[in-house]
Symmetry: C2
Subunit: 345 residues, 2 copies
């Protein structure tokens, strides 16, 4: 299997995506091509030996081979010709905007490229925390009560403590927990820096949190172990990402079989069929033995590899199951019929 | 204003899109470039004089200039160079898959191209009739009660008469009204030809239907007249599209001010802010003076030009208001901080 790993792009989580790609270099034991999308959305083929932080932070990546995206895949640009980059399946490891909002899925579907990652609809539903809540409810999975604030609709009645989240960002960016009116005002300004819409939820301290990753392979679910993430109120950007880049240590949750079953049932309701083709991580809360979806990570950091016993094998199986979007045959029957009529155009 | 009109693509509504583009040739009194996306997703610049059914149904379009889509726009391919096609704003008039499912928005946002049409989220919400219902409810607009059938979830208890619609198609394709179990079975087979999910609603004959188009220009709404579409149970593909290609005759609805106001209020709730940048048509039902959303057409046939008093002026104003997606500046602070630490990657 030759994987193409696409990362970077114009996202607040651009740098986290680079870390994710470097982690995949280490943990995915297959042939890999690294395709970097820079902030201007030019594509570069990065030599595996150069997959380190400095290549990107120094701008040295610009000396690598540039790629062109077109029908059928990525092509290496030479002076007189273009050579197709050999890849079996792409892995979308762009976090946030461009990667998780649906653009990469749209590009790959449009250009006929196989990929592991959420499809267009799944991206939009999971990227927007408000849509996630509507969707979760519709498939029978609870979420915490919430309110949506927007610049259009300044509904400011909230009770404290509460947590503010920009509607469309992951990775804890722009998120605040506030305990009073003054903190609330400041937190709104922070969140509006990142999005025009904010989702506000009651903040419950010491809430039980469990993360479960998985994917569907030929109608069978493949689940990871269930992780109980460490926390310090909420994980900030550095804890979360320096954390996962360092090591494989995880806190496997010590749960009874009934709760494990409930978490897996909730995951299944969320995943099937919307997230087919993706390896996702669902982050859940548990209150009084009831499961609540917190959020869906359709391209989790480093594909949540540390939660799987045999990550490479899981990914290989998933990759075999990926299909191209179904294409439609155009027969021009309708236009032929117009041409046969009086009022022809 | 130089408009680029993109049409065609790999969609069941490919041919309708060609008709839409031909209608825009006639009714949009500005400079226009016609960009055809063929079923294989190659782009061609079609000479205005060749904008007729035969160019496409005969395959003669392949003799026109081929275009390349890349950062900043479409480029005309010459033997030794590439020349940028001058366009101020694109109009997305691709109906159905590729155009209304979000792919074209994604491509244009990714490549930094201004366009009139639904953005990515708006596309996904309006393309999928199930998501449309969830969304409408969340913004306080009623829809008819419904049930979702899927190959995964064969919930077959329905009451008759009912109407079956593939979840993701417009233009009446694959839609059936059924009166008994036998018709229901056949109609399901028809709908599953087009989609894995079917939305089923009660069928109410002689229901009042009203169509309203509009867009937001600088925080002000610009509404079309309200149309009462002619009907024969439901309009089929040919009635609907041969109809609008022929003439400008519309049935303006004779409504009291209160109902007009309700229809416009419902349109506003649906549109703002999700559909900013698009000229959409909402199709409503009215039962006992209550407004129900039937469907959202984010790229309506020929942009519903026949509903506007001064279509060209409306479009020009909307075009001035269109912005590019906001881009993020990447500063590599986080990677620099990793490089300064012990566990550097």
């Amino acid at each position: 299997m030759i994987y193409g790993i696409i990362f970077g792009a114009n996202s607040y989580e651009h740098e986290i995506s680079i870390v994710s790609a470097v982690v995949l270099k280490k943990v995915l034991k297959e042939q890999k091509k690294f395709i970097f999308c820079d902030e201007k959305k030019d594509f570069y083929l990065i030599d595996e030996n150069k997959m380190n932080a400095k290549t990107f932070s120094s701008g040295m990546y610009k000396k690598e081979k540039q790629l062109i995206l077109k029908q059928g895949g990525f092509f290496v640009k030479n002076i007189l010709s273009e050579k197709k980059l050999e890849v079996d399946v792409m892995i979308n490891i762009i976090h946030g905007k461009d990667g998780e909002d649906g653009k990469i899925s749209a590009l790959f579907d449009f250009y006929g490229i196989k990929y592991i990652g959420p499809r267009l609809e799944a991206s939009v539903i999971s990227f927007n925390k408000f849509f996630t809540k509507l969707y979760a409810k519709s498939v029978g999975v609870k979420t915490l009560d919430y309110k949506v604030l927007s610049l259009q609709n300044e509904n400011n009645e909230v009770s404290f403590p509460c947590i503010l989240k920009p509607a469309r960002l992951g990775s804890s960016i722009g998120i605040s927990i506030v305990k009073n009116e003054e903190e609330f005002k400041y937190a709104k300004d922070v969140a509006y820096e990142f999005d025009d819409e904010i989702v506000v939820e009651q903040f419950i301290s010491n809430i039980k949190e469990y993360n479960l990753a998985g994917c569907m392979i030929n109608d069978e679910f493949c689940f990871s172990v269930i992780e109980e993430p460490k926390k310090n109120e909420i994980l900030d950007f550095e804890q979360k990402y320096l954390g996962f880049s360092e090591s494989n240590k995880i806190n496997e949750a010590n749960l009874d079989d009934n709760l494990k079953k409930k978490l897996k049932e909730s995951f299944t309701k969320i995943y099937n069929p919307l997230f087919k083709g993706a390896l996702i991580r669902c982050d859940f809360f548990v209150i009084d033995d009831e499961v609540y979806l917190n959020e869906i990570n359709p391209n989790p950091g480093s594909l949540a590899n540390y939660l799987f016993d045999d990550f490479t094998n899981t990914l290989n199986q998933l990759a075999h199951y990926i299909d191209l979007e179904k294409q439609i045959k155009i027969d021009y029957k309708f236009l032929h019929s117009i041409n046969g009529q009086k009022g022809k155009m």
